[in-house]
Symmetry: C2
Subunit: 350 residues, 2 copies
Amino acid sequence: MQKRVGLKTLALKLGMDVSTVSRALRDDPRVKEATRRAVRELADELDYRPNAAARALRMGKSGRVAVLLSPPQQRFASPIFLELLSTLDQHLRDAGLSLAVFAARERAEEVDIVRQIVDERLADAIILGRTRKADPRVALLLESGMPFVTFGQTDWQDRHPLVEIDYAEAGRLAIRALHASASGPIDVLAAPEGLNFADNYVAGACAEAARLGLPEPTLHRVEMTEQAGEDVARKILAPNPRRPAFACIQDSLSFGVYRVAAAAGLIVGRDLTVFGGQNFPGSEHTAPPLSTFSTEDSHVAELLSKVMLRRLAVDGTPADGTFEHHEIAPKLLLRQSHRLIERAPLTRTG
Amino acid sequence: MQKRVGLKTLALKLGMDVSTVSRALRDDPRVKEATRRAVRELADELDYRPNAAARALRMGKSGRVAVLLSPPQQRFASPIFLELLSTLDQHLRDAGLSLAVFAARERAEEVDIVRQIVDERLADAIILGRTRKADPRVALLLESGMPFVTFGQTDWQDRHPLVEIDYAEAGRLAIRALHASASGPIDVLAAPEGLNFADNYVAGACAEAARLGLPEPTLHRVEMTEQAGEDVARKILAPNPRRPAFACIQDSLSFGVYRVAAAAGLIVGRDLTVFGGQNFPGSEHTAPPLSTFSTEDSHVAELLSKVMLRRLAVDGTPADGTFEHHEIAPKLLLRQSHRLIERAPLTRTG
DNA sequence: CCGGTCAATACAAACGTTTGGATTTTTGCT
DNA sequence: AGCAAAAATCCAAACGTTTGTATTGACCGG
């Protein structure tokens, strides 16, 4: 409840002007070493902290970085995001910044939120994912001049830094894994059209199928939810006597497939095969364990943080006119769901 | 790149003073209806947005609510947090507020972060979880006068609103479920001592065991990670011929148990039983499906948001001197892992 | 027609910092 | 000692709002 300690308080107690105190604390060469020490000491003693709002107003920078969470963000949202937020905040705090989170309810709201962030100066920079072909959010940000980093490709990659996961490779991995032992038709379950990562996945999968001389896979562009996985699986599994293979862009979809299969008395690894994506918690313990790819969440988070910090450091246009791009390779996790095993016990691994 | 539009711009174009414009926009009764409309119109046309920093400085309120993420926040962090952040931001935005996220690396850092938030006025209010016996964060907040809501009990509950999950009931549920068919000794895997929710879980479990005339369960106070689950399971499973029952406070721990069991050639439901907690994504598809309890993430998130908003609305001490408290009952999800099934096929549910 | 009331608006200060320029103090040189 | 240059400090403005108070003009009754 005691009164807030600001520059004024310090200046008063020290018998100097606030400007001197301010400069002392910011290591301005204009203040004498001795005064600087004195100021420092008192500041520490009184536990002075600069008022964030005042500083933001004066400097025209909020000291915050925004992360835009795209819908849908339900229960099965990729666990990478929590790790991302956590890691990001830790790095930001080290740099004297803090983290703001914005969650859109629906796609249309996203661009409104970006506009709000820009106009009200709610943040100095933005990170956004789930990028699309002609992403209006990116267009808006480019126009506004606000620094940003995308998690995924955009149509204007030469104008901003970016971190992406090589989803084309993920698609190839999935087809290759399923091809090894499955004989049935391949169904690809990917996120809606227009989302770059999903388009890449589909492209990779189709290309690989062609390369292997397989028939064109059937494409299902659906939301990445367990429910959507169920819906697709129900359509495919019921009438299909030829053991189908499911390439799912995310484990959530695979879970849906598992559920429908179980309800129909079908066994993964005998009557169908499944390949997932993103290595969700628990996917290792399904019956049978889900083959999938992973992307080392902590590495992605770390990378994104560093790239953002470097982007902010140059403070303006990039030093040499070029922006950082990073492509992360998906790591293959071959467990059991991708192949047919005739009669081996499904629950034993040893 | 065009110049920012502020009150000054509007006032200039309209030929009035900024103060009038400001009042017009805030629906002050002192401005004439006609002027108000004129101002509104131009503001809309020029897409005026008040500068957040300036407003924060003037009003002494940042317009932000902070969420403190407690360590450890790894891959297996409870998925509830993402849902919480998402829901929370949506409600806050409707109320003209925004969301700030802080993630501590280690426990000791948490109180520093709280202090920073308070001193630098980084937020107007805080939400914190993983509450403890004499939680120093809570003590600090009480002293500072900053509004806050806890997710979990504290020693000073009469002085702040709170939302909690009835973990004592969760503990009872687990024991009761395991008791129904398991005959072996019970091992309780709970989070470290001092964490209120974990202490409650343990208390509930022990009480229920006593009530049922069971021998005292063995307690393991460990971090809620898959790794910790493995470590405990390895110790218990190896030398134990009597089919042990594991009551885990969180599914992450159960996953660890599953993994060790699989590696040892043991089958859950035959050689041991497991009861989890929190219903992680994927826990439904383990072999056998994990019996657990759930807490309706979206409901919790919704509740926490509403409580926070109401706390901010009263703006000061509570209206009638009393704070909102909510207890959420865990919902029992009986799948298969909690009971012994001699020879039934494990992977079929239909 | 004038003093008084009321509505509508303008003026000005304040929030806590940062920063360009003016002012004072110290230093260094002759 | 005297003076210029350099160093250290102070003064004041500014960032964009909000809000208490002063000012203006219109309208009314006497």
